[in-house]
């Protein structure tokens, strides 16, 4: 564990709240399902899992370094359904990218067919709403490992809609699918339950760009009542399940650019069958408190996994990534690079767990965590967690924590760049190693812009 400053662990008033009671309240308030919904059994099963649970705090090992307690003090209500008319001046705005024509827009957890665009979707690829899920999805929905973790189970017990993407056998989709999970501002604090299910069948190949944020305000109207309500906290509780069939391939980008007042707790679970290839580029920039858990379970032989992550936290942001790669079979390859930048008083956490049981011989895994601290008060906790039982494996890991290098800054200054431009260029260089994996030029440059402007403010 690399600690750059000593943690003062003080009891916050919210720690005294009854974490079980908060969970019960969230359960009570859920939106009911329509009669005969195909989701009922799935929700009931999750409800059972939640019976004896409480929401976590820093006493839970998995939550030691990033305290979610502030969340429990806010009386979140389930996010209401929002149709296009009632959106008023709020728009999808800049979230849509012209060069990504296949677009699915989910507002407050509900798929909006008006705002989505599936015109250019080729045959063999199906995208639809989870509200109408039938029994063909039963083997997939909420069937992955990690479903009993409390926030995930709460999502499963609460969701009434979401997105299902099915890439048919041997289908190849070159154009990225742009999946937007947006929350509409509200006068009261709301919790959005976002859910996606991605099934890539045998031999298929696709690219998915999944983004989280808030609807754009009608800025030309100045301070409308809606703008004011934007300062209300909201909470996104997101779960995406990905199933990769034999020899299937998915390039997955996930960005979290929630509003500054938001809480974001998200899980990406991935199950990889034999010979499948999965790459994730996860970029986390927004929210006052965020947590992302990518959990990859390699159920087949000879799979390949690339996890790339970038987190920026500024001011008093807290951003936590807990990843897991669980090996089960021989000959699997996994490469992970996670980079973080922390400025001001921000905290970032990276915990990267690799589970390599006896059966997973010939595993080849490498994990690297690189962190850049831009302020003496910023803090990073980075920890590899290797649980290796198999004896014939290659598992490398490393972590670095550094600051911007004075010699590098001077070198750039000696070529005419002022200090700020020099620092920007170095930050851009640090970030671009991850963001260059994003398969959209427009999105790449927006992410870089966003990083630079957040660091300046």
């Amino acid at each position: 564990m690399v600690n750059t400053s000593e943690l003062e662990r003080k009891a916050t008033p919210s720690a005294d709240l009854d974490r079980a009671a908060t969970l019960q309240r969230l359960i009570q308030q859920r939106h009911p399902l329509p009669a005969h919904s195909g989701l009922q059994t799935i929700r009931d099963r999750a409800l059972n899992l939640l019976q004896d649970q409480a929401l976590p705090n820093t006493k839970d090992e998995e939550w030691r370094f990033a305290d979610p307690s502030a969340l429990y003090a806010i009386p979140f209500q389930p996010a209401p359904a929002v149709d296009v008319e009632s959106m008023g001046d709020w728009t999808v705005g800049d979230w849509a990218i012209a060069t990504l024509p296949i677009r699915i827009v989910v507002i407050n957890g509900r798929l909006s067919s008006e705002l989505s665009n599936l015109e250019s979707l080729p045959p063999g690829i199906a995208i639809g709403s989870l509200a109408t899920a039938d029994e063909t999805l039963q083997p997939y929905l909420a069937q992955q490992q990690g479903m009993n973790e409390v926030f995930t189970a709460l999502n499963t017990a609460s969701f009434s809609d979401g997105v299902v993407i099915r890439i048919g056998k041997n289908q190849r989709l070159e154009t990225p699918i742009h999946l937007l999970f947006l929350t509409a501002p509200s006068a009261a604090p709301i919790v959005t339950t976002s859910r996606a299910l991605v099934i890539a069948e045998t031999g298929s190949s696709a690219t998915l760009i999944e983004e989280y944020g808030a609807l754009d305000g009608g800025s030309s109207l100045g301070t409308s009542s809606l703008d004011a309500s934007n300062s209300n906290p909201y909470w996104t509780n997101a779960v995406t399940e990905v199933w990769l069939g034999d020899n299937a391939q998915l390039h997955h980008t996930r960005t979290q650019r929630e509003a500054a007042t938001a809480f974001h707790i998200g899980k990406t679970t991935v199950s990889q069958s034999r010979d499948s290839r999965y790459s994730l580029c996860a970029v986390s920039l927004g929210a006052q408190f965020s947590r992302h858990n990518p959990e990859i379970v390699l159920t087949g032989l000879q799979t390949e996994t690339h996890l790339n992550g970038f987190t920026l936290a500024v001011q008093s942001q807290v951003a936590d990534t807990h990843s897991l790669i669980h090996f089960a079979q021989p000959y699997c390859i996994a490469k992970q690079l996670h980079k973080c930048i922390a400025n001001d008083r921000a905290r970032v956490v990276f915990n990267g767990k690799l589970e390599v049981p006896k059966a997973a011989q010939q595993t080849n895994a490498a994990q690297l965590s690189r962190n850049l601290l831009l302020s003496p008060k910023a803090r990073v906790d980075t920890k590899p967690q290797l649980e290796i039982v198999a004896d014939d494996v290659k598992c490398a890991h490393g972590a670095t924590v550094s600051q911007l290098d004075d010699e590098e800054i001077f070198y750039l200054q000696s070529r005419g760049l002022d200090r700020k431009s020099a620092c920007d260029l170095l930050v851009k260089g640090f970030t671009a190693e991850i963001t260059e994996k994003v398969p959209s030029e427009e999105l790449r440059s927006r992410l870089l812009q966003s990083v630079l402007s957040q660091i300046q403010s």
């Binding site: 200054q413 005419g416 760049l417 970030t431």
Partner: protein, 262 residues
Amino acid sequence: MIIENSEVILSVNDLTAEVDDIEILKGINLEIKAGEIHAIMGPNGSGKSTLSKVLTGHPAYTITGGTVTFKGQNLLDLAPEERSREGLFLSFQYPLEIPGVSNLDFLRVAYNSKQKHLGLEELDAFDFDDLIRDRLDIVKMNPAFLDRSVNEGFSGGEKKRNEILQMALLEPTLAILDETDSGLDIDALRIVANGVNQLAQSDRAILMITHYQRLLDYIVPDYIHVMEGGRIVTTGGKELALELEERGYDWLTEAEPIGAGV
């Protein structure tokens, strides 16, 4: 070339500087006029690189005395980037590797910083591409180097050529070359020297730091200074280099030994 009554570009008077409370420069005096080529030689640790870094404004060094005038301005008042934009350039003895920053982006930002400062047109990526390809030719560098991170994984010689490429792009009034010849084979040395000679014009000047007389066959200096223990102990013409190569540095200071740096 020595030109009668030409403008003084750099004037260093009794310059002293320290790092971590250790005095390294102990009173440097040096005057460089437009058109001239100067060379500084001297044993390891005598303060040659320190002088070049002090002149370009490295923050690790504290000036404790003396003055430096560059093109009529107090150089020590200027930030490192202002010194660069005003036409001072240092080819580093050990050029840095900057992972993640593309060489092309870096060169363009550097070029445009200077253009902006001079009130000249900044170039977009497209026009800059034309310019840089032209300059690449001077140092015979493969365009593939532009797409790589600044100096990352470059060989020693490639790094030095990249420095000269930057010099050719920024066209400084005074270029300080700190051991740009070290570690170059003869072919690379010729290319680098050719690049430097193209820059040498009547309104510009060059200050090169070297250990080897070999460089001076290709870039012929008007003056050679010898540095020892933080001072310039001798100044002579180009023939001094041959004598130094034969006799070493000791004979210069035998009469009056100086507690030189390591």
